[in-house]
């Protein structure tokens, strides 16, 4: 910014000036500031409008999930995973199921894997539209946000059709899904595939080449690839810095190897690149959903694993074995092998890992969630050092820090 030239008649004489003391302002950004989109605090040291240093305080919604998980049977932990990244809870749920299935050695049928892919990619779209449209709101473009919210609503209706819930979905079961895709769900997914592109194009038209948006986001909050890797960035934020690491491609799970999609990468790791990477990822997710729904295999939607998957309710009343299995599963008395397993899925924000240690008991001996937000958010002070406060808000917004995932 050019320095303001003071005209001679405005300059007071040296004698009139009070003695200047250099002092930094302390500014509390959060914990409940609307611009932080979640409950966490940043204590910023400001030199005028510029940020000199920042200190983060997190843990405001810490709910001790890892401790609670040590007392719960495996299927009850799904509800905990919902509440981590609540913008894309199906990814958390299904990632957890896949971890336990890996431990138990349950093979999930193709149809269930495809349904899971559809749900996870829809969840990725909802996650990214929130992030990108909120970034628009933070730059002053409120309208786009309202348009895409309607599309998120439609995805939530698909969730409702699948599992009855909207936000904290508790979707899927060990060994498959809890129900097949209903005709209504299939119709709604097809409708969504048709109706989403025009809306996303409109959002793109509003922001992608918008002069104000570009000026506000290009070279704002950038991070080099080397620093991003050191800080443990994954997901869209790492890809924006220029590395094409995606768990879906590198360690394919749930039949991701069957689908044709590309991984968008950025160059500068700045806010604009993060926006563009997420934007392109939505197109790719939509492509995956389309491929999955058109090539949906026939067959069962759950594995043939009666000791882990609940029998149909009618069977429970008539069949002794089904009753026993039902009782054992509900009471959490399934036989889990001793072992340790690390399973990662590509969450909305990056590599969402589950490190599970089982001692053969009904609950995990230890369960650790690798939460992407928690790991990359520590880079935030470095990223916004020297920028203005309003740019720092954009940087935070584009990182898509979800408070639930941050604190777990």
């Amino acid at each position: 910014m050019a320095d303001i030239e003071l005209l001679p008649h405005n300059v007071p004489s040296q004698a009139e000036l009070p003695e200047l003391v250099e002092e930094l302002t302390t500014l509390n950004l959060g914990p409940t500031h609307p611009a932080t989109h979640g409950i966490f605090q940043n204590i910023l040291k400001m030199d005028g409008e510029k940020i000199v240093s920042g200190e983060q305080t997190i843990g405001y919604i810490h709910r001790a999930f890892e401790k609670i998980a040590e007392r719960r049977p495996f299927y009850q932990i799904t509800t905990l995973t919902d509440r981590m990244n609540y913008c894309s809870s199906p990814i958390n749920n299904l990632g957890w199921h896949m971890t336990v299935e890996k431990l138990l050695g349950v093979e999930v049928p193709k149809r269930a894997q495809y349904i899971r892919v559809i749900m996870m990619e829809l969840a990725r779209i909802t996650d990214h539209i929130i992030c990108n449209s909120i970034l628009g709101v933070d730059t002053g473009a409120f309208t786009g946000f309202l348009y895409v919210m309607q599309k998120r609503e439609e995805v939530y209706e698909i969730y409702e059709e699948m599992c009855g819930a909207r936000l904290t979905t508790n979707m899927g079961r060990l060994g498959g899904m809890e129900r097949d895709l209903s005709n209504t769900a299939i119709r709604k997914i097809h409708e969504f595939i048709k109706s989403f592109p025009p809306v996303l194009k409109e959002l793109e038209k509003l922001l992608n080449r918008n002069r104000i948006f570009m000026d506000r986001t290009i070279n704002v909050g950038s991070i080099s690839l080397e620093r991003a890797l050191s800080y443990g960035f994954t997901g869209p934020n790492l890809r924006a810095a220029g590395l094409d690491y995606d768990v879906r491609v590198m360690n394919p799970y749930s039949s991701y190897e069957d689908f044709d999609f590309i991984i968008p990468v950025g160059q500068n790791g700045d806010t604009y690149d993060r926006y563009m990477v997420r934007n392109e990822e939505m197109w790719q997710s939509l492509k995956i959903v389309e491929q999955a729904i058109n090539n949906l295999p026939e067959g069962p939607y759950y594995a043939d694993a009666p000791e882990y998957y609940l029998p149909p309710k009618q069977e429970v009343y008539r069949n002794m074995e089904a009753l026993i299995y039902h009782f054992k599963i509900v009471m959490g008395e399934i036989d889990a092998p001793i072992g340790e397993v690390y399973h990662a899925v590509e969450g909305g924000n990056g590599e969402l890992g589950f490190y599970l240690i089982s001692d053969g008991g009904r609950a995990p001996y230890r369960l650790h969630f690798r939460r992407p937000s928690f790991i990359y958010y520590q880079a935030y002070p470095e990223m916004c050092k020297g920028s203005t406060l309003s740019d720092a808000i954009l940087t935070m917004s584009s990182l898509n820090v979800i408070a639930g995932e941050l604190d777990a």
Binding site: K67, I68, R71, M250, E340, Y355, I375, Q378
Partner: protein
């Protein structure tokens, strides 16, 4: 493609008996080392010309109260993007001496993960720039993820574990 065998042999050659307990649960190379060697081991893997295990995926702790002398364990997960190769490194610590050198000099991401591990288990990362609690309140005077702290209120008598299948 990097195989577990290859890396395990290279590590054995470099570190000798300082790396031990090799395992492959679900295909993931797992090994143990001592806290004296952990930093040089991670640095070796990170700076190795061909392996390039440059990414610290995860760092966490585990409590094993029933294993005398090895009550605590710190677990590191590392990842090489070039070879799509993951490795898990474990370091056991005794309850009497919960010190381990910090990895913040190697990976910036270790900072909060080590704070979290300290917060939950009380493991002391020597040389950490800011080893204070991160998720729990600073006034807390115990380490909640240790096994001796039961989840539920210990004074309640109406919740009998046997009745709930625990």
């Amino acid at each position: 493609m990097l195989t577990n065998q290859e890396v395990a042999e290279a590590l054995l050659e470099k570190f000798g008996d300082q790396v031990f307990d090799f395992e492959e649960p679900f295909g993931l190379l797992t090994l143990s080392t001592t806290r004296e060697e952990i930093l040089s081991l991670m640095e070796f893997l990170r700076d190795h010309k061909t392996y390039q295990v440059i990414f610290l995926t995860d760092l966490t702790g585990i409590h094993f109260p029933d294993v005398p002398g090895k009550e605590f364990m710190v677990v590191y997960h590392m990842h090489s993007f070039i070879h799509n190769f993951r490795i898990r490194i474990k370091v056991s610590l005794s309850e009497a001496d919960l010190h381990i050198p910090t990895a913040t000099g190697l990976f910036a991401s270790a900072n909060w993960m080590e704070r979290e591990t300290f917060d939950f288990f009380g493991i002391l990362f020597d040389g950490h720039p800011n080893l204070i609690r991160i998720l729990n309140i600073e006034e807390m005077d115990y380490f909640p993820m240790r096994k001796e702290y039961a989840m539920e209120d210990a004074t309640r008598e109406d919740k009998i574990d046997a009745l709930f299948g625990r």
